[in-house]
């Protein structure tokens, strides 16, 4: 079984992200277009409907280390948010509390991480949690 090396895997993910994903409710791209090692990424999640997050735009930063995708990326919210798997002090997504990161598989991607976070935001236990003022940041 061919194993796609980190850099070529991230180039594929970048190209997919540049074309735009699904209905645009999540997106991601390189923080700096010159970053040849593709370490730092930006992500955006549009808050899911029928939840307190509706119409809110959440910015995240994602770091893909040198052992990605064998190891999961580090994900942090830049926009303030109240969710059980996000550290309230600094916005860091706590790896062991989010299934896609806790049970990381090599086939998981930046897209699956953002899609799963958005799904969690809409989950019955999370969708009515009181939220910090819109637009506030860590």
């Amino acid at each position: 079984m061919a194993k796609v090396p980190r850099n070529f895997r991230l180039l594929e993910e970048l190209e997919k992200g540049e074309k735009g994903i699904g209905d645009g409710s999540i997106s991601y791209g390189l923080e700096d277009g010159d970053d040849i090692m593709m370490l730092k990424w930006n992500g955006t999640i549009i808050g899911p409907g029928h939840s307190v997050h509706e119409n809110r735009i959440y910015n995240l930063k994602i770091e893909c280390g040198h052992d990605y995708p064998d190891a999961p990326p580090e994900v942090s919210f830049l926009s303030r948010v109240n969710l059980p798997f996000v550290n309230a002090a600094n916005g860091k997504v706590e790896r062991h509390k989010l299934p896609v990161l806790a049970n990381w598989e090599r086939k998981s991607t930046l897209e699956t991480v953002l899609v799963d976070i958005r799904k969690e935001m809409a989950a019955p236990s999370n969708r009515k949690l009181p939220q910090p003022p819109e637009g506030s940041t860590y």
């Binding site: 061919a2 194993k3 090396p5 070529f8 180039l11 970048l14 277009g33 040849i36 593709m38």
Partner: protein
């Protein structure tokens, strides 16, 4: 696992100015270096690249990119290369060696009419001498 014949030949007898070595833990993944061709603004530089043979190879082309920064109209900021044989002109009869020779030739003969780095291509078209000077500067700065 034995190295495929193509890899054995490539490692044992690379073309002048080209070297390629597979990673121990992934025989489809190669560290490549290409020296800048004489007479080009890349002369004197050693450029590092990475090459990967996807599952579909040789029905699909290898994936290749520069890891060394380079100021060239057909190579973008992330080292991606615009070269027809890596895309629609690929043929299973071509080999890794041919691909690397073509990339080396691209360094001697940039093609600003089919650009990937549009700002570099514009520079090459408007003032080739000045653009080449930047290419030489980058070669000295990044490719030593």
């Amino acid at each position: 696992m034995a190295l495929p014949k193509e890899t054995q030949r490539l490692v044992a007898d690379p073309a002048p100015g080209i070297s390629a070595a597979p990673h121990d833990d992934n025989l489809r993944y190669f560290d490549v270096s290409i020296t800048g061709p004489d007479g080009s603004p890349f002369q004197g530089g050693v450029f590092r690249l990475e090459l990967y043979l996807p599952e579909e190879y040789p029905m699909s082309p290898p994936k290749v990119r520069f890891l060394t920064k380079i100021y060239h109209p057909n190579i973008d900021k992330l080292g991606r290369i615009c070269l027809d044989i890596l895309k629609d002109k690929w043929s299973p009869a071509l080999q890794i060696r041919t691909v690397l020779l073509s990339i080396q030739a691209l360094l001697s003969a940039p093609n600003p009419d089919d650009p990937l780095a549009t700002d570099v291509a514009k520079h090459y078209k408007e003032n080739e001498a000045a653009a080449k000077a930047v290419s030489r500067e980058w070669t000295e700065k990044y490719a030593q």
